[in-house]
Symmetry: D2
Subunit: 345 residues, 4 copies
């Protein structure tokens, strides 16, 4: 059994970790911290976990995280970087669901997250936790920067095209849509039911933190300079993410060959489903599961390829992906504890 600690388990990625780990056959949840909820049973805050999670939240100073095998940070940006060093020194692996260890470019991090990076020396050993693109490094990693939700879809959707060199890397557009849970569990008026239900909007159009993270990764796939225009939108649904990716083909290539690029790239992946060419995946086809689905289109058989990518932002886009990384790091079968069938309807 893997002894697991969770720092900051009161948000949505935290409770989703708890849901997944509650039925993970190798997981032994040993500590979950929350400064504000010290002593409160987890199941009191989240009645969905009554009878399934017996632990109470404990304040960070009381929890003995150093005795864990792995600690997940489901915290705001900036927390993991303050605590990772000590944990690693005690032989504890660290998986950060926030942004602290996602980007190698410290200047970009500091610009977009508005804080100094207090743990730069660990960055070089931090591994970007996207298993389908980075599995070998994850196997040996002690410290994982778990990808952002949007970047997961953009990378997995553009990767086969970029690696094959069939699109113009300098002109990528990603029009992405997320459910409201992506904004977190915070007392903010902008994400109230009455403010977001029955409405739709874009946000962060001028610039969003997930752009530099994604570009840094996409750049590793090609010699050409990557330029990405990323536009996030808010959908009145709880979970789910849909990315509509636009790329211009730089050569004559058949639809079959495009489809083959994706099927080859992901043929051994359990959590990536390349659907038949021309499909329209719905976000709900991945709801509450670790699946990500991809479908290709070639409107008017023209110069653009359109890639549709869907996932559950809290699972493959966050906590499921983190558990997938944990499984890899500990030599478990990658799908262990992650075989939830999507909920439909």
């Amino acid at each position: 059994m893997i002894k697991i600690g969770i720092v900051g388990g009161t948000g949505y990625t935290g409770v989703e970790l708890l849901r997944i780990l509650a039925t993970h056959p190798q997981a032994q949840l040993t500590a979950i911290t929350s400064r504000k909820e010290d002593g409160v049973p987890v199941a009191q805050m989240y009645p969905s976990l009554r009878g399934r999670v017996d632990l109470a939240f404990s304040s960070p100073d009381k929890a003995n995280l150093n005795a864990c095998d792995v600690v997940f940070f489901a915290t705001p940006h900036g927390v993991a970087m303050a605590q990772a060093r000590e944990l690693l020194d005690n032989g504890v692996k660290v998986i950060d669901l926030a942004a602290d260890f996602r980007m190698q470019d410290v200047a970009q991090f500091e610009k977009w997250y508005g804080m100094e990076h207090s743990c730069k020396d660990l960055l070089s050993e931090a591994v970007y936790g996207l298993p389908e693109l980075n599995r070998e490094k994850i196997k040996k990693a002690r410290l994982i920067g778990n990808p952002g939700c949007y970047p997961t879809t953009m990378q997995l959707g553009f990767a086969p095209l970029l690696k094959a060199g069939v699109i113009d890397a300098g002109n990528l557009i990603a029009d992405c849509k997320s459910g409201v849970s992506g904004a977190g569990r915070k007392a903010e008026i902008g994400i109230l039911f009455s403010e977001t239900s029955d409405s739709f909007k874009a946000y962060g159009v001028a610039g969003h933190r997930h752009t530099p993270e994604t570009i840094e990764q996409l750049q590793t796939m090609t010699d050409k300079e990557v330029s990405l225009l990323f536009t996030p939108h808010l959908v009145p649904m709880i979970r789910g993410m849909h990315s509509t990716l636009y790329a211009q083909l730089n050569q004559d290539i058949s639809n079959e060959a495009l489809q083959a690029l994706f099927e080859d790239a992901y043929k051994d992946e359990q959590f990536i489903d390349v659907m038949p060419f021309g499909s329209h995946p719905e976000t709900r086809s991945t709801r509450a599961s670790n699946m990500l689905r991809i479908a290709l289109h070639r409107p008017g058989n023209g110069k653009h390829v359109v890639v549709l990518v869907v996932q559950d932002n809290l699972v493959k886009g966050a906590s499921g992906q983190a558990v997938q990384c944990m499984n890899i790091m500990f030599g478990l079968a990658e799908e262990t504890g992650l075989q939830h069938v999507p909920i439909n309807p």
Copy 2:
């Protein structure tokens, strides 16, 4: 492995059976019938099942249901009664998710369902499939009438009070609310998104089929004549059912004693959660799981007890309960394949 057939798998209870059985360790899905979808892979109709269910729908005449150990009917009312006899004669157990075998009173059935009962002789051996109230009979049953969704909540909510004789059986009120999936997967204008979203209404107030079914069961719990006023409502949510039950106390009884009635009645039940007195359960705390949660209230410490009951109408209210019955009938641990943690958020 239990060889399983599903008749009529294209509706919501059908696809929910498929979701549950896909990870049930003892279930071997061998046939699923649909006249209209003959030959269509299940996963084509339900992309959420891609990679998880390999079967195709087959027309009823082609499917060899007689070779199954158990057949579920996820069909409209009236189908199971036409086919149950032959299956039973071939040693196949039958679980009907429709109403054909729920009620012993044929006249009531025929009045409320508007059809003649074509298989009356089997009714006497049909067992009402509510495990928490009828477990011993289910163990030996060949033929199960799986309870309606509303009746499940009303029975489990009133039972401890009725059995203890502390309420007036002649004056029960059940104000119940269901998500839209309870209306099924039918091409009807009344359940379109644009017709039901952002709105709320009652329906069937003058009389609903679940009233006689519930009264027949409640009557077995008391010598007094049961009278029940049941009002269903439609909630703009996909899944979930909330029943607000009102009963008048006929004696002086403390809140602690009331609470104890419920805790005692359900202390060994894995799928019934008696919450602390005065709790307000949310339907989402049971979402996509087989849990049913109950909380008691005593407004103003007056003469009424109010029982709040929540469940997922498609799971404990339908397909989960059916699998729970199957587990009991085949001697499996009752929770086998039913340990999904509710989805939150």
Copy 3:
């Protein structure tokens, strides 16, 4: 033109007042206060009002409310009672959308609202602003306590029955359901989209402030002692309220006679629609309008009458009713500025 001030215009009843008054032919909006938003144009906070409302919020000390003809308080409970005296002394009429002037029973107010009433002497002249039941007093009023949303539906639904003496006043049950906007525009986790969408729950079952308000009013309609069991629920929709009222008949009475009680009571009312006996009104049939619809049922032709009442909680349940009161107080046609057709779909 009526010069109008609004105190606390940043909440949902405030912005709804602004929407209604923007097309009211006799309304001249002259001041709107908000301590926090001083100087911010209303239309910046509410883009829906761009081009329709030119005013900016001003801090209370800067706004010259004494120059208004009427001031609406769309504030938390306790604000109007502190300012009403001065306004009245300056000849300004006051309509409070909060609870300060709804109840004559100070002890009940202080118990349920947890604050001392600082303006008890004005209570005796305060008029309860439910026009259909209190029109004559509203005509002459200087100070209005605008009814709560739930109480509006309960009073209008029970009144014809109570006044005719055909029901048992001592055993009223009101199972009520409200859209989330009823909880206001506050930064609270409990009303986030991800917490309330796709779920349903009861709240305040043990006791709710709207019970004493409603009982105080219902008691004026009958000599018998009124007892009311009121259970509020939260529906995942923005606007709308549905009250399901249960009463026991104390005499033999035909359905036609019951229906006639309502049709007679409301035959001259423009904002009350008594639907055909046995109808199931949807909340959306009143969306964004000042209409309230009522339908009667007699399940099984038994001893209970069930009254279904729907309204938009922000209009007839709050701001629309307040404007209706204003129209009456200033001698305008009651429907002035309130003829919005409900939005469907």
Copy 4:
């Protein structure tokens, strides 16, 4: 008063016309046809119209449409073309909300709508009913092809840029999102609440009928050849449309100059709101009103301009625009009957 007929008033554009016309001071609704609902009072089908619309549906043969001043077709494609000739010959103006008279290119029409055009000779006098771009022609028109919902947003969003020649006409991308009401009021499983709620998807990515309609209009604005990639998506909300438009700048131009292009183009328009540069309009800011809002972005001050356009698909995207055309055709002030303030929340 203008005598008005509506053909096919049972769909969403029909009932929205009824809502708008019910308070239009110059409109006299004289006939509304529906083959299936002959004799049924409109208010019985749409309780939201109780007390506001007294008419009953009549079958087309009984309705004397020739006595109207104008007839709206709120019908499926193909109906208006069969009846327009006779109406025009009788001096009745015609406004078709379907596609019959939107496109001059018959071949494109027949390809995309899968039917022969039975009234080609009238096409040359048909006027495309987008007032902000075509007002002078609408003034004199007898026959209007009312624009599609998506095309309205794409044209109004691209027009100032295309006309000024500052973008590459050959590389336009429109990523558009619509509420479910855009799919109409049809008994189809794909638009059930349980199928569309809490999910998001693209559709028609390979090609959609609104592309040729839009290109035909955009082409009139520039000498360059227009190429448009249009991707529609379905949002789980009733009303609302959000178009995210991407264009590449072909010259050095400041953000101020871009903004000025839009402010100048629409400075006299009552129904177009050019928001401050960098705004994020929400669809709800136009809910149930005839407003369309536009905001410009220049991500990273790069080569792309991103135009965000929102409207209510049933108002400015359909019935409101049709009434706006009617007002122009009959010499009324353009805003007559269209001054609804958007509903918020």
